[in-house]
Amino acid sequence: MKVRVLVRPKAGILDPQGEAVRSALPALGFGGVKTVHVGRLIELELESADEVDAMCRRLLSNPTIEEYEWEVVA
């Protein structure tokens, strides 16, 4: 099966990467973007999704600064 994990900075944590992208958009003529947050998409191909949550907590995300969600996509 395939699992898609989305990792992103926790709400309220400074996201300089998102901020840099946000400030670059107007330079290309894209207006009206209030906030941008940059995260990370991780795709796993595995036999069972039983341990995905543990993988997210122990390695794929750092719970001190990031939150995650995951879903089975195929």
């Binding site: 944590i13 400074l14 300089p16 990467q17 901020e19 840099a20 390695l59 794929l60 750092n62 001190t64 600064i65």
Partner: protein
């Protein structure tokens, strides 16, 4: 210790690039440098360990995230629990936070630029093995070179660090957006210290300064080794 030369280990991960500087710094401080390869759990009876800077595992996923699961780090967690003195420098600091040997995390610099400079830091506590030979409030000039040096911890953790005197070094001018101008912290047991500045890069007057030796040499006093 009957004249035995103190042995100080330096961990080496794929992508470490300050390991040689750290080994040289250990030599300069008068101790015996011992290389600790990431795939070998044997700490070789060292008295203290330095986790050096660099880009372990290419900073893949997050700085320090992969290095944290190596065999040598498993042994280092035990060493930390037993009170062994550990100093994490730059990427080493990131590795120690990922391993939960130190609280908080190092985020990307707020200005989104790599910072490579010399900065002034103040010694905030001498109650760690790596600052024991310094004077409280003393100022040191040390090099920094990092992209993720912006120290973050939740407000409760930050308050605890301040109350318990666990901020070890503080920037006089904040180069990266770090919370409370924090340049280094220690764990609850005070034996594990992480700093963003590089004491090992200023361990010889030929490199411009040997001020960093004052931190490295502290461990000879501070750990009673």
């Amino acid at each position: 210790m009957g004249g035995r030369r103190v042995r100080i280990g330096v961990t080496v991960f794929p992508g470490s690039n300050c390991d040689r500087d750290a080994l040289y710094g250990v030599e300069r401080m008068g101790a015996e440098p011992v290389e600790l390869w990431h795939a070998d759990p044997d700490l070789k009876g060292v008295d203290a360990v330095i986790v050096p800077g660099g880009f372990s595992y290419g900073d893949y996923l997050r700085p320090g995230a992969i290095a944290r699961f190596t065999k040598v780090m498993g042994s280092l967690e035990e060493f930390a629990k037993e009170g062994g003195p550990i100093l994490g420098v730059c990427n080493g600091f990131q590795v120690l936070t990922e391993a939960h040997l130190l609280p908080g995390a190092l985020l990307r610099n707020t200005h989104m630029r790599f910072v490579c400079d010399r900065v002034s830091v103040r010694v905030e506590t001498t109650g760690t093995p790596w600052t024991a030979a310094l004077a409280p409030g003393e100022e040191l000039t040390l090099p920094v070179a990092h992209n993720e040096g912006n120290y973050f911890a939740d407000p409760e953790t930050l308050a605890r660090l301040e109350d318990e005197g666990r901020v070890v070094l503080r920037y006089l001018e904040n180069p990266n957006g770090s919370a409370n101008d924090i340049a280094g912290v220690c764990n609850e047991g005070r034996n594990v210290v992480g700093v963003m500045p590089h004491p090992e890069r200023v361990s010889d007057p030929a490199l411009g300064s040997d001020e960093g030796l004052r931190i490295l040499r502290s461990v000879l006093v501070g750990a009673g080794v």
